[in-house]
Amino acid sequence: MRQSSVIARRVAAASVSLVLAAGAAACAGPEDPGGDDAGNGAGGKPAKGGTLTVLNSQPQVDFDPARLYTSGGGNVPSLVFRTLTTRNREDGAKGSEVVPDLATDLGKSSKNATVWTYTLKKGLKYEDGSPITSADVKYGIERSFAGELSGGAPYLRDWLIGGDKYAGPYKDKSGKGLESIKTPDERTIVFHLNKPEGEFPYLATQTQFTPVPKNKDKGTKYEEHPVSSGPYKVVENENDGERLTLERNPHWSAKTDPERKAYPDKIDVRSGLNSSVINQRLSAGQGSDAAAVTTDTNLGPAELAKVTGDKALASRVGTGHFGYTNYLAFNPKVKPFDDPKVRQAISYAVDRSSVVNAAGGSSLAESATTYLPNQKSFGYTKYDHFPAGKSGNPKKARELLKEAGHKDGLTITLTHSNAKDFETSPEIATSIQDALKKAGITVKLEGLEDNDYKDKIHSAEDEPGLFLAHWGADWPSGGPFLAPIFDGRQIVKDGANFNTGFLDDKSVNDEIDEINKLTDLDAAAERWGALDKKIGEKALTVPLFHPVYKRLYGKDVKNVVISDWTGVLDVSQVAVK
């Protein structure tokens, strides 16, 4: 759900292409040549030195580890913030594995995954040379509970004992802090959870697990110069993260950090740029743009059309995948969507090829029949309960409608956002409208301004009957993908609700609990896949497509790594010499 959060926090006034935020995970689809190509495409052995320019559309408005909503620690932030664990900085599928970072291992679990113990590596230092202690990690996590520093993912709040009560270190005067986090010694930190969570190592990759030295904490002002534990430190932060200059952190040692390659000496982040301008600059490669990459902008359809016509450019395009699904969501409380037959009819009627086209064509979107992303780490299990073929099955749809008692067609309203994101935007909505017409379903479009749209679809009372939605992975696993949407206990009455289908099915809830107990992530993945297939039969959503990201990079850029966790070219691996 990070996308929308980031989009909400920073809607570029007129960004024409998808805006992908920091980080994500997935496993290499078989058709994914992206990374390797790219790696060799740039040619030559990567070497230290030089300045890497990052051209972004979204400024790093939040540079406080407590406020960031990332998975795998984000891109630019992960150059400065080290976390207990982190994503495997490798290309494609292997990139969706979780690996130790500050910690010596992925954590030892006990009491069937309700207690997690981590040990910090030796000789870890901040940019000022002072040692990193487990207390700092604890403090970093506690900060994220403060109202002043809101914005992070909800898991800590939901999982840690007493997390729902805790209001952060500023309000809490007891001095004991959050008691479910224990730091018996300088290097050990223990987490006590209120329920089994086999996927805790994944969570530990988020920036909230970054150590923050209490004496350096400046509250909301901390983000102006966060203390670095990673290979680079912030030397300049202009205009609220619009222009960042990062230089080497002398106290970081590659020995304790096998993940981050940190080739360039300097990293110059310029953001607030128009997406088409970013791609123009990358393809033109003037001056410093030759050694430039982007972490949040990909090729739009128009640009792709041009690039594919140009060999030289085409060789500078990397392909990224990211656990992400765009779908149609039903609210079964609203007629006629209370009738499964109607929901199924619509599932049959959708023309995925035209949806895919609206989303940018087959190179930028893969049509989806499953709710889970088509990646192994999610436990992807292929299914197509209501086969609509390439371009819809209006015949079958009509039949179902007849059975449902709508023999002479049906008129429904499709709610969508007016944001120009090509995901929940009018373009997609109209393509659906066009497809359903063939099945005798008249679709009225209700386009809402983005804020309004988000308010509505996440409110238990005002949720529309049929609307465009999408979900992104907080880490490459079925857990964060299925639980918030289909776990009946996560229905929120008085706030932002994500179980938009209001599914409260004991068997589903129990299965979720069971899987959460597993610490064997592969085994867990398989069962998530099975669960997804099972839920799919209820036709509470119509999966539409999984986006594919085409990333252009400068001509001097080497060692391009695009992990399937993020689908983004990894700035910690890039070399420019």
Binding site: R9, V11, E148, G219, K221, N274, E449, V492, G495
Partner: protein, 357 residues
């Protein structure tokens, strides 16, 4: 009358025995400026109230947006308490006014900071002081507006003079068409195309990015050249037409007949007397456009990725960042009002027959 402030200026044609020299003019001006200042204050207050009202009814749960969509009701409540969103709107407005005149303190969690008057409050989104936010954006938009103005004066007035001189000839028709092409094409099209050609394909210019004048004047100009040009192309037509119109008007005036009757050549009549007649309205109009640029350069700032006021403003509106919106609108409004006054003064200075009232 030009669009800048018809009615506020009055021509003294034929009113003999009553003529302010420059001294008299300045003399009259102090009073005029005072009245204007008072008026401006009222205007700005009105604006702030309207914005508050509009955003009060606008949808979008500020707390939820600020906190992030996955925030629990409890956290949202915490945030909205944090942002004082629970106070009734009039209380918030009162605090806002108080901040402007007295400044106010706010907590960073670890300590408290002071936001000195005129304090426009804190951004919901970035916890920054709006005043500082604006100060950071101001030079960008300022540079943009300034250069653009110079450009459109050169392009527009130049074209205007030529077409006034060659009126009725092919030259004029062509020039008119060209300048109108500018008017007819939105800046995001002109700008993008220019950028593709000049920067992408020909490598004549760098892709624009803001370099502070203080850092490197040359780079500053070099980088802004393209935005300036695109904006100028859009405005040029207006100025060309204004110049031409007032020149033709002057050419029809009796005093031009006098100089013709005294054997003064056409070149000097056009270049000296007619052009001088166009002077006042042109600078006056420029002052106005310059002013409205501060809130108005949204499209070009967005397109060229210049961190200016307009873009920030539109963004703030989209994320319902009320303090930023109000602050920015007030500042941009201030510039418009200021420009209006300046326009009148310039007009009066350029054309001494005008009395400010």
């Amino acid at each position: 009358m030009t669009g800048f402030s018809p009615g506020r200026t009055r021509l003294l044609r034929g009113m003999t025995g009553f003529s302010p020299g420059l001294t008299g003019l300045l003399h009259g001006m102090t009073g005029f400026l005072l009245r204007r200042a008072a008026g401006a204050l009222v205007t700005l207050l009105a604006i702030s109230v309207i914005i508050y009202a509009v955003f009060y009814i606008a949808p979008g749960d500020v707390a939820q947006i600020t906190c992030g969509p996955r925030c629990s009701p409890a956290q949202v409540a915490q945030v909205s308490e944090q942002l004082r969103l629970d106070d009734p709107v009039y209380v918030r407005y009162r605090d806002f006014l108080q901040g402007i005149f007295a400044g106010r303190d706010y907590s960073t969690g670890t300590g408290t900071e002071h936001c000195a008057a005129p304090c426009l409050g804190l951004s919901y989104q970035s916890d920054q002081q709006v005043t500082q936010l604006i100060l950071a954006k101001l030079p960008v938009t300022g540079s943009l507006a300034l250069g653009a103005m110079v450009m459109w004066l050169i392009l527009g007035v130049g074209t205007g003079v030529l077409s006034a001189w060659r009126r009725g000839r092919v030259t004029e028709r062509v020039l008119t068409a060209v300048t109108l092409a500018g008017t007819a094409t939105p800046v995001f099209v002109i700008g993008l195309l220019l950028m593709i050609v000049a920067c992408g394909q020909l490598n004549w210019l760098p892709f624009p990015q803001y370099v502070p004048f203080t850092d490197d004047p040359q780079q500053w100009a070099w980088n802004l050249l393209l935005p300036w040009l695109s904006l100028a192309l859009i405005e040029a037509a207006k100025y060309a037409r204004l110049t031409r119109a007032s020149m033709l008007e002057t050419l029809a005036d009796d005093h031009v007949r006098t100089f013709r009757a005294y054997g003064v050549g056409e070149r000097s009549i056009i270049g000296k007397h007619a052009l001088r007649g166009a002077f006042a309205p042109v600078i006056a109009l420029s002052a106005n456009d310059f002013g409205s640029m501060f809130g108005g350069a949204v499209l070009s700032e967005t397109l060229f990725g210049l961190p200016g006021m307009g873009r920030e403003l539109v963004h703030a509106v989209k994320v319902v960042d009320l303090p930023v919106v109000v602050g920015m609108v007030l500042v941009t409004g201030f510039f418009v009002v200021l420009a209006n006054a300046v326009a009148d003064v310039l007009y009066a200075v350029a054309d001494r027959r005008v009395v400010l009232s």
